[in-house]
Symmetry: C2
């Protein structure tokens, strides 16, 4: 677990996309985000208090989160010296960068000297188990998608929030870097060694007996020719009782692959259910979550309504409408949750 | 490429299973195996000449192959000192062990001093590409299976041998440690980082324009809950024109998973064809290869005949019968081989 609360590092970043991870953290875990660290007033603001490392420590911050995505994934000298200063001030470090904190000699030395911890969230855990597919107790939901980056993390977190509002025990289980920083723990499933994909997810959402839900963040798509292996191993390891299908209407092609069309929703849904049955024979789909950011309000309503009618299940845009109807359907299923 | 010819290391091994990899090498690449190195006369013999390291070098050997599987995957002090002696004598080293050659300080030092190369065949290559699924020229065949260890490597190598007998250009593309040692190159696909499974196979069997075949060794099974992600990424990356289904009749459960039944052949075949169509829309199955080692001659014939009739395609045991009818069917297909 990454110790909270956090100070979010912005540095000199002026490109909104480069602080996507920090923004996700500020949105989904506001109570965990004490402030932001900016090197200049022209850098992007997430609307949090600007704090120095010393001020953040004084207010109780435990970890500086390097939730920035810089070109090439390397750590600039400025970033390294800021990181060392944060360690010296008493903060731990968490990073979602490609370059590893522990591969930077100055950072490693400062962390050792100050007995601080370094969290590289793209680094998978050591000694993962091989999956077994044996039934385990618990209630599990997995988001699946027609493509990468269609809103699976957002949808999963929205379902967690809604279930908790309803008094249902529910925990988001992160499988990507932003999700891991938001949750404070998780497994970067696309970074594990191929033999351990399913096993890593069995470990992430193990047997559970309190009646609560594990809500597992999906990755990729069974129809993405670059990453489908990750999605299938994740599906088998998750052993979901319920899946929720995520999609962005109007997307011209699979992410990163011009010319490669997205699968029809019904085809994608059936393929996921069929594959999931290997480890979860009674799996059902509770609904569809659409990212309609590119559509007008009227078009978004029309598309949601059409999808809902054609597939016979709730369809909502989690950002515009929340996920209450999808969650109501999840909770209406008679899921035993025992193996 | 691992430089041939090879000297095969047996050491003191007395368990036939522990020299499985060396035996495969001696069987499939006899012309590449000059001899064996045994520490005692009671060790297993592969029927090759017993040579010292110096004798092997004198006869032209380039690489000592540590094709032994010892308990725990660690390197014993004897193994390490033998490896150092081989380097000193002028041999390169190739290993299929879990423990890495380059993690042994004495071995690394001796290799550096003598300018010899170390090949850890379980170590995936650096800088793998992300797969794209775009059509590439070439003729490609992939073996798929109902389970792990049902004869996919043997079948693929038997198809290579038969095609070459017929004068057809064909190259085995290895995806597992034994296969890599046999071929002298390949990618240990179950050891690559999950995001790169498909990409690693696209690199292993890239665009090919000479009209010849790439024969890709399959791994695992779409129906094995531990490893299906590997199998799916391999299927997409292989982009096969033709698949051959491998199976061992009578197996009680999926490998390593008591209680988990194997899928019916027809179900397994359809699932593989359907998944393969994502990157190879016209994919077909040329036949079924059965490992009937546990059956009597009569039972083996009966089972092959039944499978052949029910699926409408050739079915052979590659060990008992070879693969000539399967290969005839492969070559009867009208496969353009251009993207």
């Amino acid at each position: 677990m990454i110790p909270a609360p956090y100070l979010l590092y912005i540095g000199n970043e002026t490109d909104p996309l480069s602080v996507k991870t920090s923004r996700g953290l500020a949105y989904w875990r506001p109570q965990a985000c004490l402030g932001q660290y900016r090197s200049s007033a022209s850098a992007i603001s997430l609307g949090l208090p600007d704090l120095t490392f010393a001020e953040a420590v004084q207010r109780g911050a435990r970890t500086l989160v390097l939730g920035v995505a810089n070109a090439g994934g390397v750590m600039s000298p400025t970033l390294v010296s800021d990181a060392v200063a944060a360690l010296d001030a008493g903060l731990n470090l968490a990073s979602g960068l490609h370059a590893r904190l522990r591969d930077q000699p100055e950072i490693r030395a400062a962390a050792a000297a100050k007995h601080r911890e370094l969290f590289d969230v793209r680094e998978p855990p050591q000694r993962l188990p091989i999956g077994t597919g044996y039934r385990r107790p618990g209630r599990r939901l997995l988001t699946v998608g027609t493509d990468c980056s269609v809103g699976k993390m957002y949808t999963t977190l929205a379902i967690e929030r809604r279930m908790r509002e309803l008094g249902t025990a529910a925990d988001f289980r992160a499988t990507g870097q932003t999700g891991i920083l938001i949750a404070g723990s998780g497994v970067p499933v696309d970074a594990v060694v191929a033999d351990f994909i399913a096993g890593s997810v069995e470990q992430l959402a193990p047997a559970r007996r309190d009646g609560g839900w594990d809500l597992i963040e999906g990755q990729g798509s069974l129809f993405h020719p670059s990453f489908a292996g990750v999605s299938l191993g994740l599906l088998h390891g998750a052993q979901p009782d319920v899946i929720v299908l995520c999609h962005e209407p109007g997307r011209e092609h699979m992410r990163g692959l011009p010319g490669r069309k997205l699968p029809p929703l019904a085809v994608c849904l059936q393929a996921n259910l069929e594959a999931a049955r290997l480890t979860s024979p009674e799996v059902v789909c509770a609904g569809v979550a659409l990212n309609t950011a590119s559509l007008s309000e009227a078009d978004a309503r029309r598309v949601c309504s059409e999808v809902s009618q054609s597939l016979g299940m709730p369809c909502q845009d989690p950002v515009r409408d929340g996920v209450s109807r999808i969650v109501d359907r999840v909770l209406s299923f008679d899921i035993e949750g025992v193996a």
